[in-house]
């Protein structure tokens, strides 16, 4: 076979590379940075800065409604955000009312509280509460905004609303200073904005998966969202602002190398494509 024929054969083989090889490259790119504990520095985007500043401006003793509308399926991206939000709010002595419109959400909120609250000396019922899950989507959002007690007559563990000291005097969402939503989809941050932001005049911010991020930009520009974290990068940026590197920044090193690998795959695939196309002409 001629030299040109050999080269064409190699290119054809490379363009049809076994997908298992691609999986192996992705695995190595994801695992190595995590194993060696690589850390990265991120530039902070304006939407992340917006939410961070909104929390910074809250006076100690304020109330924040933390809507954990996600499930373990999106945990790798959203859990770091949930941790960062709770760390920030506790460090500012802000009281947290957590609840969820997703059935698997409350145990995730509880896990975050159980991990972080002891470090800040926070006590359940005095500094934070987990109201649990309520089905009903947008109807629950409006119901919470109008009457929190009626919507959640008891907390996640069955304690009556009236027996939770920090909820004394808290009747609805107009009594909270900010809604922070960790959102994996529907119902989530978009519905919180549509149902609550303008109608009840409560500022809303939050975090979404990277794939949902672009959809939320109109709400940021209109001012209906005070800020937004998109994907693990958003969580990493928030951790950086907070000065507490966590899962977000750790994961960004891995995500960084996987992004580069995917870009290399795209470039290679197109190089092979153009070589083959020129050959056919």
């Amino acid at each position: 076979m001629s030299e040109a024929g050999d080269r064409n054969g190699i290119i054809q083989k490379l363009s049809q590379v076994d997908r298992r090889l691609i999986y192996l490259v992705v695995l190595v790119c994801a695992v190595v940075p995590l194993v060696i504990g690589a850390r990265v520095t991120l530039s902070v985007s304006p939407p992340v800065r917006g939410l961070f500043d909104a929390v910074e401006e809250l006076p100690p003793g304020s109330y924040v409604y933390l809507a954990a509308d996600y499930d373990p399926g999106s945990l790798p991206e959203l859990y770091p955000m949930n941790i960062a939000f709770v760390e920030h709010l506790f460090s500012k002595d802000i009281k947290i009312i957590a609840a969820s419109l997703w059935a698997p959400g409350p145990p995730l909120s509880q896990r975050v509280f159980d991990d972080i609250a002891p470090r800040y000396g926070k006590v359940y019922g005095r500094d934070y509460v987990n109201l649990g899950f309520k089905e009903g989507r947008e109807a629950v959002m409006v119901s919470v905004a109008e009457d929190l007690r009626r919507t959640f007559p008891e907390d996640y563990l069955g304690t009556p609303y009236g027996e939770i000291p920090m909820l004394e005097g808290i009747d609805n969402l107009t009594d909270v200073s900010l809604i922070v939503n960790v959102s994996a989809g529907y119902p989530g941050i978009k519905e919180w904005v549509q149902q609550i932001a303008t109608r009840f005049d409560v500022p809303i911010g939050g975090g979404v998966t990277a794939v949902s991020g672009p959809e939320m930009y109109p709400y940021i520009q209109s001012g209906q969202l005070v800020g937004l974290l998109a994907g693990m990068k958003g969580a990493g940026e928030y951790e950086q602002l907070l000065g507490k590197p966590g899962l977000g920044l750790a994961g960004m090193a891995a995500q960084s190398s996987v992004h580069v690998a995917v870009i290399v795959f795209i470039v290679l695939a197109n190089v092979f494509y153009f070589i083959e196309r020129r050959k056919k002409l």
């Binding site: 985007s45 373990p72 790798p76 509880q110 309520k134 109807a139 409006v142 795959f265 795209i266």
Partner: protein
Amino acid sequence: MKTEVPVIIAFIAGMLMIVSFFSPHPVFAEPAAMMRNWAIIITAFAYVLGVANIARISAGAVRTRGRDWRYKIVMLLSLGAMLGAGLVGGIQGGSVFDWNYNNVMVPMQSTMFSLLAFFIASAAFRAFRARSVEATLLLVTAVIVMLGRVPVGERLWSGLPAFTEWIMEVPNMAAKRGIMIGAALGAISTGLKMILGLERSYLGSDK
């Protein structure tokens, strides 16, 4: 009557919810709040119905050795185990339910999500080709945004994160806003048609 009564109920309920959105007056707000409570209760019952339905269908498939019947056994056992654990031992930290949730459900669902990285890499290699001007634009934009979202992109060019943000805030947002306004107008139109009784498909296919 079978058609008119539901249409009248839909009209009254729909108009009440619209008016209560714009007016907080108790005449509108209180019945609207009561109806929202009904909605919450009905959707909660849908969970019970859903569980009963999936249990019935899965049990039937197991009995007749239908498609994937072995997986359905696992599903039924898991459903029963979590339901039993929650009802008997509670859901608080340290309970069997909580242990199962944190050590079975969380890792399994996270694994499914993480598999996306592998599929995306493989799909990008096989399908992301610059076959036309539009595809090339999409490809170049995707590469810029992907690079701009990770620190290595900033190392390559310090202006890349800002350029990525511009892509998100201007061309992306223009398109998204257009889609959202279109979808909202469609939703308003469908809602009005239902309230006014012009759209009756919710009554059943033969109405």
